[in-house]
């Protein structure tokens, strides 16, 4: 335990040290100027203290971010728009809806590609091409088009997430559905099992380790997709909206708190996927 904890602790301390150093360096000119204007003493210690205590620093210190997170999480009800949990939930809702849609789309595409040769030739290039378009460019288009046909709120964001999510799932599932051992397939034939039966009892369970590998990638990029989707909507809720309003008003501490919240959300969702994997596949052994 100690052997595992030590490198992580050392790395964390190094990162924090670098962060504090960076905050001092970046905020220094502004802090010094403030002190001079106010006719206050501007020695090394004074400027450093000021650099670490600014309201709108270029780079806030970790303690400022933690305090901001803590007041947001503990000072308001979880349903209040001033609580970051509320925004995290709005983003998670879109990310998970998009992930579910991407899962369905990805598996359908993979099944189509595996079972139909023409689809493999006609579909796969488009699937790959879809991922070469920058999401930042296409996200506003999706929001505008869906908004025009009356779809607003959760759905446009979920569609953006789906657009990002389905690709790793398709790629993983194509490999997974083809991973069944030839003997396992022969066995199905000796039972004169139908194609559907072979899919449900053999190909699909054989693909599960591949699916979970893809899911861990997908769930993280789904959170990114939801945040990107919240930017052009100018939405009132969600971590993306929080980032946007923070940047409007130069509230860097708020931006950083939202960023930390977003990464905590991704970590939590990946942990959930990992937990599901352990529960569903764990006992079947190290495959």
């Amino acid at each position: 335990m100690i052997k595992r904890a030590l490198p992580v602790t050392v790395m964390t301390l190094l990162l924090l040290a670098a962060w504090y150093a960076g905050a001092a360096w970046l905020n220094w000119p502004q802090a010094a100027e403030t002190l001079v204007r106010a006719n206050k003493p501007a020695g090394f210690g004074d400027v450093l203290a000021q650099a670490y205590a600014m309201k709108r620093p270029i780079l806030p210190t970790p303690d400022q971010v933690v305090v901001e997170l803590w007041t947001s999480l503990s000072g308001y009800a979880p349903t209040s728009p001033r609580n970051l949990l509320f925004h995290a939930w709005v983003t998670a809702e879109a990310a998970l809806t998009g992930l579910a849609m991407g899962l369905v789309l990805g598996i359908l595409l993979a099944a189509g590609i595996v079972y139909t040769r023409t689809l493999e030739a006609s579909l796969l290039p488009w699937v790959i091409a879809s991922q070469t378009i920058p999401i930042l460019a296409i996200a506003p288009m999706i929001v505008v088009i869906l908004g025009n046909i009356g779809l607003t709120g959760l759905l446009p964001k979920a569609v953006i997430c789906m657009y990002l999510c389905f690709f790793p799932i398709t790629v993983g599932m194509v490999k997974g559905l083809r991973s069944a051992d030839p003997l396992w397939l022969d066995l199905m034939r000796t039972y004169s099992a139908s194609g559907m039966r072979a899919f449900w009892s053999l190909r699909l369970p054989a693909s599960m380790p591949f699916l979970f590998a893809s899911l861990k990638v997908s769930v993280a990029i789904s959170v990114v997709g939801a945040i990107v989707g919240e930017l052009p909507t100018g939405g009132q809720a969600g971590l993306g909206a929080r980032l946007l309003s923070g940047s409007y008003y130069g509230q860097t501490v708020q931006i950083w708190a939202a960023l930390i919240m977003a990464s905590l959300l991704s970590v939590a969702l990946i942990a959930v996927v990992r937990g599901l994997e352990l529960v569903l596949l764990g006992r079947a052994g190290a495959r």
Binding site: D181, W184, L187, M188, T190, Y191, S201, A286
Partner: protein, 287 residues
């Protein structure tokens, strides 16, 4: 089977009548009949003749071994019987039907070279797989799986996963799985090829007892002379390039009940000698 039988065989006769309500009393005594059976694989440079004009008749209740060096078509012949390969010419009938009809009626159980267990299923659920596909109810599925696992000496391992079992135990599970279908015909492709000799002796003894107790017709592919002579009522000696039958040896000098010590008898040695001579004759063709 017309005269009174010792205990084991009587049980078998009873169970066969029980499991086969549609069997006519005048059912033919021939289970497999092949005439001028050939199979040619088209390859890039020149076609490969896997089977050349094979004639073979397998009677009900027989234990027939197909023996020969690798590439002699013994596995191919077994796969043709199982409708896993299609012959290019000639005629083959299983219980008077085409192999495809026999496969669709699930008349045979197939044991592969490798156990081919599905790693995400427990031992019991692996044995239940063919029964699920046949649409048999849950309670009966479980009862039959338990019965077959007990028959191969694996009671108490129902809830284990395949990776928790040794190679020999895994292969016994795959035999139980084939038996769960209650087929009259058991096709086995070098089932013990990957096991050490001690385990192999043990499983051979087990198999011959199982065969006598159930009265099934067995077709067994092997490249071990001792194994073939020990198990079989008839031995089919095959030779490669092109795959064909050199000799068919009746083992009627050996008793139907096989114990390990018959391997020291002169009758055993005589049959083994004849098999070896047959194999030698086949080899002189290549060199």
């Amino acid at each position: 089977m017309t005269s009174p039988h010792p205990l084991g065989v009587r049980e078998a006769t009873a169970s066969r009548q029980g499991s086969d309500p549609d069997a006519s009393p005048a059912r033919s005594s021939v289970v497999v009949e092949a005439r001028k059976l050939s199979l040619v694989y088209p390859t890039a440079d020149k076609p490969v003749t896997a089977l050349s004009e094979v004639d073979l008749t397998i009677a009900r209740g027989d234990f027939v071994s197909l023996i020969g060096p690798s590439g002699c078509g013994k596995t191919t012949l077994l796969r043709v019987i199982a409708d896993l390969e299609r012959p290019t010419s000639g005629r083959i009938a299983i219980e008077g039907m085409t192999p495809e009809q026999a496969r669709l009626k699930r008349l045979y159980g197939y044991v592969f070279q490798a156990p081919a267990l599905y790693p995400w299923r427990t031992v019991e659920r692996n044995v239940m797989l063919p029964l699920e596909i046949m649409g048999i109810g849950r309670a009966e599925r479980q009862a039959r799986a338990r019965e077959q696992l007990e028959r191969v000496g694996l009671s108490g391992f129902e809830r284990k996963f395949p990776w928790q079992l040794s190679g020999g135990m895994q292969q016994r599970v795959s035999i139980a799985r084939a038996l769960a279908l209650q087929p009259d015909l058991l096709l086995m492709d070098e089932p013990f090829g990957a096991l050490d000799e001690i385990t192999r002796d043990h499983l051979n003894l087990h198999l011959t007892q199982l065969w006598r107790a159930t009265g099934k017709t067995c077709v067994f592919v092997t490249h071990s002379i001792a194994e073939a002579v020990f198990l079989s009522t008839r031995i089919v000696v095959m030779s490669p390039r092109p795959g064909r039958i050199l000799d068919v040896i009746d083992c009627d000098t050996l008793p139907r009940e096989r114990k390990l010590d018959i391997r020291e008898s002169p009758e055993f040695a005589a049959i083994a000698h004849r098999v070896r001579e047959g194999l030698k004759e086949g080899h002189s063709y290549d060199d």
